[in-house]
Symmetry: C2
């Protein structure tokens, strides 16, 4: 088992990464002093419940906890105020009190939603994350929890740190391969912004990672969480540094929005976005090898590096402008300066961006 | 103008109390460094908007702020997730950003709702309270913000402290007298739990207070806020001491629930509850004068000290048991030990409570 601490003063918490952790979950809850007397609400989704909930429920019950499981539909649409309402109702019916814990078993959707339930139920109760996707290595660090509004993603939320994160690699065995690749896109992103050696390691171990080799996967998730936790520790509330985590996300979000959510999954869209950012680097005079390397690695992981030809550049530019309310003419981007380091540029001419977007069309 | 500071470390904030403050609101916003560039969302209710919004909007506009006003229906029903959803939509349409401020102009309903909007929009933006009821002196101290769920009041919320509170006494001139009395019930409560001289002062100045004499009212609200802020400073997250603020609330909440919300307003219900708590004190061997004094003072303020005869004791007891999940046989109450001081008793026999509730029926 690997362990790392997200360092946030008195809100610090550990992330445990390894195989077979769910079977020992009850002990971990006890070790962390989560009270037996107060009922637990376990939140999961309709795809995960049949695959992994039994084991977690059994382990918690064995340790003496009373657990009520609430299941939300699988998918981004569950990050809504309606679902918050349902889950608060479930918490009340299960008799949760101020000392209770809300547990998220699932991917980033369940984590973000259940985390916001934990943040707002009785103005805040304890929260534990049990991620079951590769992408959720990202959402399990930093305490950002949220639901979506009709007009904007992740706009209603809180900062609410978990007690701990229990990352059982065994759960990843059932994850569709497309979701594995998409999650690895975000893992590689953490290398690209911070740590060249780790990008190289990912490059060398692509096959093992895609085959879900537990040792390789455990190491990659550890490194991904570690980079994110270093960044978040230095800037919990996203005042400056934390923005570098958005590498590839400005173009990526626009692609997701224009393609229609679901057409491109998040990790795919940002892979394309990262190639775009790397091409911007060349415009700023950094080595053009950054872009070719970035592209090569994502291709190796089976991730798209071009967007579907039917999407229009105008629509993509509009989505970006709308998303960020950029001042006339210049845009802000996270731009690589080499593999493993980035800078934030507020002076990116929108004409450059348009050209680069155009060049990312699949043809 | 009176000023006091709610002392919460780096979340400390001032409360300004006086006449004519709204006309100078713009300056106060500037003084507190609220950015001109970021739009403001002003939340108010349908009863308050025509009476007081103009003045505040004008003052903010004069100082250079862009203000969008959102109006929710007057009444407790607006403390809902639906209204949160609407207001987040209004914030997005008004172009609010992470440096924006949400302003609550209204009573406790608007304060609690707009405060939760401020706490959750983009995971937290700035918040300013402009209370327009007497009762809101209570909700403007302590940072508790929340909306209701079908199954429970104030169950979805956060702790979110305002930048400052602007309490313009002139706004109280339009408040229905019943709401004035009900608010004073909570003011007197702050004396009863902490400060005998202040109870005496209220007793001596009942006529001036009910006539909304600005000097008397300013002093009373100052003292009420002060007591609450002392308690809250020592226990921001309601671990122990803060519970004394619930004097009269166990019986009060049950009466509100059983009478149907609206039949008894909150301040009325807790006045009756405080008489009940004072009678409990006598059971514990404290002076029976506490109860007769408490009753006399509330009568002087025109507040009810008995509940409508049609309410059944069984229903009231059930509501209390349900509300607090009391262990078999014994209940927890805030009990006066004298005028101006209380203790928390966890050993109150439910048989005593039943008798006392019975004795509070109007006949
Ligand atoms: N809070 C943060 O800091 C943060 C960071 C990144 C992403 N996010 C959020 O995370 C969400 C995306 O996360 P995600 O990709 O994990 O999405 P997800 O939770 O929707 O999971 C992806 C899909 O895989 C299924 N699934 C999950 N685990 C499975 C398993 N073990 N076996 C089989 N199927 C499984 C889910 O039902 C879903 O259909 C987005 O809403 C995004 O906003 C949040
Ligand atoms: N957050 C806290 O710590 C805290 C503490 C106490 C109470 N509360 C909450 O406060 C709420 C009750 O507060 P309230 O009594 O102020 O209720 P309220 O906001 O509903 O106001 C009472 C009534 O007076 C009207 N009104 C308000 N100001 C007016 C004015 N100046 N002139 C004319 N009409 C006016 C309102 O439209 C409403 O009809 C409850 O929801 C309660 O839960 C919160
Ligand atoms: Zn991402
Ligand atoms: Zn009250």
């Amino acid at each position: 088992m690997r362990e790392l601490t997200v360092d946030l003063g008195d809100r610090s918490y550990p992330i445990y990464i390894g195989s077979g952790l769910m079977a020992k979950a009850g002990d971990t809850f006890l070790k962390h002093g989560l009270p037996i007397k107060s009922p637990i609400l376990l939140v999961t989704d309709s795809a995960v419940v049949d695959l992994h909930a039994d084991k977690l429920e059994a382990s918690l019950a064995h340790a003496g906890y009373r657990v009520t499981t609430a299941v939300v539909p699988s998918g981004e649409a569950s990050k809504s105020l309606e679902m918050l309402d349902e889950l608060i109702g479930a918490a009340l019916e299960a008799g949760l009190d101020r000392k209770s814990t809300v547990v998220a078993l699932g991917g980033g959707v369940v984590g973000d939603l259940a985390g916001f339930v934990a943040a707002s139920f009785m103005r805040g109760v304890r929260f534990v994350q049990v991620p079951t996707t590769v992408l959720a290595h990202d959402s399990s660090v930093g305490g950002k929890v949220a639901v979506n509004h009709r007009l904007a993603k992740n706009i209603i939320g809180a900062f609410h740190q978990p007690e701990f994160v229990l990352y059982d690699l065994d759960t990843l065995a059932t994850l569709p391969i497309r979701e594995v690749r998409a999650g690895l896109s975000e893992v590689i992103k953490h290398g690209l912004i911070w740590k060249a050696e780790f990008v190289e390691w990912c490059d060398d171990n692509a096959d093992r990672l895609l085959a879900l080799d537990p040792d390789a996967l455990g190491y990659a998730l550890y490194e991904g969480c570690l980079v994110k936790s270093i960044v978040v520790s230095r800037d919990e509330r996203e005042n400056d540094l934390r923005a570098i985590l958005n590498l590839g996300h400005t173009i990526g979000h626009a692609l997701e929005a224009v393609a229609g959510y679901g057409e491109l999954v998040h990790g795919e869209a940002i892979a394309i976005g990262m190639v775009g950012s790397a091409r911007l680097a060349a415009q700023f005079g950094y080595s053009p090898d950054i872009a070719s390397e970035t592209e090569r690695i994502f291709r190796k992981f089976g991730l798209p590096v071009r967007f579907p030809s039917e999407l229009s550049t105008d629509d993509i530019m509009d989505a970006m402008m709308h998303d960020k309310k950029f001042a006339e003419g210049s845009m802000t981007f996270v731009v690589p300066t080499a593999i493993g380091s980035v800078e934030i540029r507020k002076d990116v001419p929108s004409t450059w961006v348009r050209e680069i977007v155009d060049g990312l069309r699949d043809c």
